[in-house]
């Protein structure tokens, strides 16, 4: 990129190498770039705005799902990630400052640290996702929370399907349209998820979604002390998969943005190492910083909305 800038400068023109031909002054170019970046960030906020709106609608309509299902998220790992991202925002801000005052070594170190924090965030996210995956705490039809081993021994899968499909014929229309009936039910379209169905609970005294073994998960991923298993049948919540759809949509899109941010920071790091930036020209560092702060800011909202529901 910088190579191109140099070659495209008209010979003998007063333009500095980094100034594109259609701008009169570096200041005008910087202002244009910053305004463009802020507008782009506004579109990013609106992109996530759709998801926040989705969250608000579902939570307002079905608060019980959120109160119940958020217990399966790990506050420990969520908080850890929050701390990591706040630290990375600090290192990013320092990097921008270093670029402004021309301290190249600080710039490089701070960009590397930011990169490290971003990777750490994604690593933690990976741990969390892997756990959800193993436990079947997924969206839509893929929501198949594990039963305890004993219950699996008691009932074969075929029996579940038979029981459920038999009982669903009478209640299926109601499940699609009515308000929650405060017990868990599986979507009518997917007999495979019926392990979690309330109708099986009618035949089983103590079924529910409990973790395979509380001691096995990573720290913080153990089930809450008030385990769902101890809930009475009428307290159980249906359509829990909706929460996980919202969770994966929001954190997934955010994760993609972190990934994109890491790619851009790597590129900026390479350019910094090459010596492209100076106190007179460091617009890309500045703009990457703005982007990274917005990505952090979105997480600052995601963490309490998803993990800290009371």
């Amino acid at each position: 990129m910088s190579h191109e800038r140099e070659t495209t400068t008209p010979d003998g023109s007063p333009h500095p190498a980094s100034l594109q031909h259609h701008f009169d002054t570096p200041r005008q170019q910087l202002e244009a770039a910053l305004q463009g970046m802020w507008l782009f960030l506004a579109t990013e906020i609106l992109l996530f705005g759709g998801l926040f709106c989705l969250y608000a609608v579902f939570r307002a309509n079905h608060p019980e799902i959120f109160e119940y299902a958020h217990q399966y998220l790990s506050k420990f790992w969520g908080a850890t990630n929050t701390v990591i991202l706040i630290c990375s925002s600090f290192t990013m801000a320092t990097a921008v400052w270093a670029a402004q005052v021309g301290r190249r070594k600080t710039l490089l170190a701070m960009l590397a640290l930011t990169l490290l924090c971003g990777c750490g965030f994604l690593g933690v996210k990976f741990i969390e996702y892997q756990h959800k995956w193993k436990e079947g705490l997924l969206w839509g039809v893929h929501f198949r929370p594990e039963h305890s081993a004993e219950q699996f021994a008691q009932h074969s899968a075929e029996e579940h399907v038979a029981t459920v499909s038999g009982e669903h014929t009478s209640s299926a229309p109601a499940t699609a349209t009515s308000r929650p009936q405060l017990f868990a039910t599986a979507p009518a379209t997917s007999p495979a998820t019926s392990q979690a169905s309330p109708d099986t609970q009618a035949t089983q005294p103590d079924p529910s979604w409990v973790f395979r073994s509380p001691g096995n998960g990573p720290r913080g991923l153990r089930p809450p002390s008030a385990a769902p298993a101890s809930l009475a049948p009428e307290q159980r919540v249906r359509n829990v998969q909706t929460f996980f759809a919202v969770y994966f949509a929001m954190t997934g899109l955010h994760g993609l943005h972190v990934l994109a941010g890491l790619a851009v920071i790597t590129w900026i790091l390479v350019r910094s190492a090459r010596g492209d930036f100076s106190p007179a020209y460091h617009t890309p560092v500045h703009m990457t910083g703005l982007y990274w702060h917005v990505v952090d800011l979105i997480w600052i909202y995601l963490f309490p909305l998803l993990y800290l529901i009371h």
Partner: protein
């Protein structure tokens, strides 16, 4: 980045000789990697017109099928695909990008006296996003079938049985829409920054041509509404691909929420379509009436007002979708409120023409028909904004007639007006005025003959999107189909004489129409850097300083 290609000296080399942007550099690569806004605009125009042809073919197929009840040429499933493709192509590929990305891209920097848009590379990137999105959408035609209607309502769009295979149906179209949305965002972003930062110091906000006010208001909507469409189609893609359970009712999702999300974009998108058209009309009416625009500030601020109000009316698409009565009343009220700034514009255009010296050249003919058609389209919109009437008319041909009067009759006619108006500037050639008038008559008569009977069909209760109808509806349907053939003939003639003018048209002077905006100060076609001498910034609608010079068949400055 590909822009580093050495074969791309276009936009960064000052003009060496008296060449223009079309002849400055040669070879296909000088177009593929260009960052010149004028070349990108031409690429947009060609691509959009190709999409228009495709969408038009589907429209003719739909009208031909409806000539008779039951089967005329195709089976019902195929018919569903036809109207879906017609709608999706026309809206996402033609009308939304049409005026801003093609005409706006060309004239916006020149009207500001600037050398280019603020972000030339993003401009090129936005074009390729458009192209990729368009190809993906067309790919869906080849690989599978989409028959959901252009709105992609859940559960039509998520039900795997609708639309063939998983990858062959709805998903490529949705991915295409996502990319087209981002293309639109980047265009809008570029326009806003350019208008803010590349205006010459001597040009204040109220010396901007009204076309730029319209594009600015459009860009605000593009930036604020399109991301919501982006996230909506992403969610719909995962809903369909992975049974996500956000929108599908059987998984605990909320299909009405999808409609809210969709219309939160798609209603403001209606103003993305109409506002630039209104901008073109403001230019054309003033220039061809040889009179200063009446009520400049009102027209300028009414554009912004439409952009703002446009965000609060999406619920009027959902009066029968199960939203609360209170919400429906609020949306109805705001819908009426949008009529105010729209009417402000129309009255100002009429007042501009009052006692003007009206010149009936092709752009003006299309502009005048815009006033007529937009009047009908806008006023029938008020019927639909009324809650009780909407319940009767919802989902009938009345809706189809209404939005075709606004989108097709207004926006597309304005786009054709704009193409004629700026044709000499873009190509350096004059088109045939006689054939222009012939084609206009066909298009105008055809347009009204096509869609006016549909108002009657709608009030009599014929539902939209239906393949079959009772025999008493046949007469009106045949009228409508004949109208569509007339209109198609008009457009074909237009294409022929415009293409002919490229090779055999007379050379255009710098200012054939006597416009006072800056693009008429540079040569036709403009040099790569737009202006050989810095333009003189003045009142964009002051025609007193120009006089006609018969020798060059154009206008020159009196001084």
């Amino acid at each position: 980045m590909s822009a580093m290609n050495p074969a791309n000296p276009t936009s960064d080399v000052p003009p060496a000789t008296g060449g223009n942007y079309l002849t400055q550099t040669r070879g296909i690569l000088s177009w593929v990697f260009t960052r010149d806004h004028k070349r990108i605009a031409v690429m947009y125009l060609v691509s959009i017109l190709a999409a228009f042809l495709l969408g038009g073919i589907f429209a003719i197929l739909v009208r031909t099928e409806l000539l008779t009840p039951n089967k005329t040429i195709v089976e019902p499933d195929r018919y569903n695909q036809f109207f879906t493709l017609h709608g999706a192509i026309m809206i996402f590929l033609v009308i939304i990008p049409g005026i801003p990305a093609a005409l706006g891209n060309f004239v916006l920097p020149i009207m500001l006296g600037a050398k280019d848009l603020a972000f030339p590379r993003i401009n090129l990137f936005s074009y390729y996003l458009w192209l990729l999105g368009a190809l993906l959408a067309v790919l869906a035609i080849v690989l599978g079938s989409v028959d959901t209607g252009w709105t992609f309502y859940v559960p039509y769009a998520t039900d795997v049985s609708a639309g063939g295979t998983l990858m062959g149906g709805v998903i490529p179209v949705l991915l295409g829409v996502f990319l087209l949305g981002f293309s639109s965002i980047f265009t809008g972003l570029n326009f806003i920054v350019t208008i803010h930062k590349l205006r010459p110091p001597s040009m204040g906000w109220f010396q901007l041509p009204l076309f730029l006010w319209a594009l600015y208001a459009t860009a605000i909507i593009q930036i604020l509404a399109t991301p919501v469409l982006g996230i909506t189609v992403l969610l719909l893609i995962v809903e369909r691909a992975a049974n996500f359970g956000i929108f599908h009712p059987s998984l605990g999702g909320d299909p009405v929420l999808y409609q809210h999300f969709f219309w939160f974009y798609s209603h403001p998108a209606v103003y993305i379509m109409i506002l630039p058209a209104m901008g073109v009309i403001s230019e054309v009416i003033s220039v061809f009436s040889r009179k200063h625009i009446f009520g400049y500030h009102f027209i300028a601020f009414s554009s912004v007002a439409i952009a703002v109000f446009g965000f609060f009316v999406w619920g009027h698409h959902m009066f029968v979708s199960g939203q609360s009565a209170l919400l429906a009343m609020i949306f109805s009220l705001f819908t009426y409120a949008v009529a105010i700034p729209s009417a402000v514009k129309v009255f100002n255009w009429l007042a501009t023409m009052y006692r003007g010296a009206i010149v009936l050249k092709a752009p003006m003919l299309y502009a005048l028909s815009f006033l007529f058609i937009f009047g009908i389209g806008g006023l029938t919109g008020l019927f639909l904004g009324a809650l009780a009437v909407d319940v009767h008319l919802h989902g009938t041909y009345f809706i189809v007639a209404h939005f075709h009067y606004v989108m097709m009759g207004s926006t597309l006619f304005a786009m054709i007006a704009g193409i004629h108006y700026w044709w000499p500037k873009m190509t350096g050639r004059l088109y045939s005025e006689l054939w222009g008038r012939v084609a206009w008559v066909l298009a105008f008569v055809g347009m009204n003959l096509t869609f006016f009977p549909q108002f009657l069909l709608g009030t009599h209760g014929m539902p939209r999107r239906y393949y079959n109808y009772p025999p008493q509806f046949q007469f009106l349907n045949v009228l409508s189909s004949i109208g569509s053939y007339l209109m198609a003939a008009g457009f074909v003639i237009t294409a022929i004489y415009l293409l002919h003018s490229l090779f055999a048209g007379r050379r255009a002077p710098s200012n054939p129409w006597g416009g006072a905006t800056l693009e008429w100060q540079c040569s036709s076609p403009p040099p790569t850097h737009n202006f050989d001498q810095p333009p003189v910034v003045g009142d964009p609608y002051d025609f007193g300083a120009l006089k006609y010079d018969a020798a060059i068949e154009g206008y020159v400055s009196k001084t």
